[in-house]
Amino acid sequence: GSLLGDLHYTREGVPVLIVGHHILYGKVVQLEKPFAVLVKRGAGEAGPEGLPACYTVTALIKTKLLFKTRPKPIITNVPKKV
């Protein structure tokens, strides 16, 4: 799949995300209210046959990395044309 970027952590535990030409600093957040990730079972089957729709909880998310500060641009040196 296509690349998003690199995720590093500082020794103090601060997440650092490098996406394209940007650096984002974030923080680790423990979710007070976890998220359940629901996937509809039998998503491809057509027509109701009396079988009720069913969602499977495929994951429980209890931690997130929050990047809400403004991305810092990475300035690369562009060699001068001679």
Binding site: G1, L4, T10, I18, I23, V39, I61
Partner: protein, 387 residues
């Protein structure tokens, strides 16, 4: 796939000092199903999360014209879509700094896939179970007794039927069935038609009287023997369970008759025969109508009858809270169209059931009514004109 030297090159370009960072990097890329949008997020309270982790399921209930609710085994929640302020990317297996420090693995690249993303989620808010529909369904065909000449109707509901039609958790539904004194007849939940219920109750109280039993020690066996020829034994037992507290003494089953519930039922029987009654006349007839040994009290009629202390003579009439709308604003509109100004004491029994988990009657009145003083007493009236 990205390798370590590419990662290091990026760090250099970004002017980040590798020495200030943990050695492990996550290289994030979008997984094959990431864009499919097949998953959605549901926000959980810790209690619900624990339910799922314990292996239990949650159920979403509602017909096409209803707002969906989510039910655990004993609670009901309104569902609403909320936006997240940022886009959320789901990265299974992404490690936190604590996990990385604890794990002494030798590799320093983790290739992580973004499994999906979302910018909205289902938000849950605990709500009152929507139980008015339960009574409405069961009242479609009340049970009038085995001798009833009524045609077979198909308005009968099993537990499974109710679970798919009522927006409430199973425990809340079963509890309400008990409150309604409903019983299962041939696998279907039935409410007794009021006259039939009173007929059954009367059989019992007459028997108690003629046998001179104590109202707190009514023997099941004798009731079934004496009354079994008049009514089905299941019905006799049902009425005892509805109006009494079951206990065992010396191997025999007895019932302690419930004074408040019995007096209240008899009051309803009297009040439904006319629009309004002279209060003092009613009180006299009522006391004479209840079993000997039971005492009637006006506070037994909360949520069943309304007294008018301002009229001369004072009157009383039937007003059942279960006949009023379930929605808060509609309930208040209905109450204010019945009476313009209410004292808190009078209105409380008719709004108590609207209170949310930690809400008080006072909070409801503040929100839906306007207060004023009348003859030194605080009264509440509508915030808007009622036609």
């Amino acid at each position: 796939m990205r390798n370590r030297s590419e990662v290091d090159a990026t760090l250099q370009t970004a002017k980040l000092n590798a020495a200030e960072l943990l050695p492990v990097v996550h290289c994030l890329s979008f997984g094959p199903q990431a864009g499919a949008g097949e998953c959605c997020l549901l926000q959980l309270e810790p209690g619900l999360c624990a339910e799922l982790e314990a292996g239990r399921s949650l159920v979403i209930r509602g017909e096409k014209d209803e707002h969906a609710v989510l039910c655990s085994k004993d609670k009901t929640y309104d569902m609403k879509i909320a936006d997240t302020s940022n886009m959320l990317l789901f990265v299974p297996g992404c490690k936190t700094p604590e996990q990385l420090n604890a794990d002494q693995a030798s590799c320093n690249i983790i290739h992580s896939q973004i499994a999906g993303f979302s910018n909205h989620y289902w938000e849950l808010r605990r709500c009152r179970p929507k139980l008015k529909k339960l009574r409405k369904l069961l009242m479609e065909d009340p049970y009038e007794g085995p001798d009833s000449q009524k045609d077979q109707t198909f308005s009968k509901y099993t537990t499974e039927d109710l679970l798919s039609l009522i927006q409430a958790s199973e425990e809340e539904i079963l509890h309400q069935l008990q409150v309604l004194s409903a019983c299962k007849i041939e696998g279907y939940w039935r409410i007794l038609e009021f006259d039939y219920e009173m007929k059954l109750l009367n059989h019992v109280t007459q028997l108690v009287d003629s046998e001179s039993w104590s109202l707190s020690k009514v023997p099941l066996r004798s009731c079934l023997e004496e009354l079994g020829s008049l009514e089905p034994t299941e019905m006799i037992e049902h009425i005892l369970l509805s109006y009494g507290r079951k206990y065992v003494d010396d191997g025999e089953v007895y019932f302690e008759m419930h004074e408040d519930k019995t007096c209240r039922a008899i009051a309803q029987m009297l009040l439904q025969n006319a629009v309004k009654f002279n209060l003092s006349e009613f009180q006299e007839v009522w006391q004479q109508s209840v079993p000997e040994g039971m005492t009637t009290r006006l506070d037994q009629l909360k949520g069943l009858a309304l007294m008018d202390k301002s009229s001369r003579p004072e009157t009383i009439s039937l007003l059942k809270v279960e006949d009023l709308p379930e929605n808060n604003q509609e309930r208040f509109n209905s109450l204010f169209s019945i009476r313009e100004k209410w004292t808190e004491v009078d209105i409380t029994p008719y709004i108590q059931d609207l209170c949310a988990e930690k809400q008080t009657v006072g909070a409801l009145l503040t929100k839906y009514a306007r207060s004023s003083m009348q003859n030194g007493v605080r009264v509440y009236n509508s915030r808007r004109p009622i036609s």
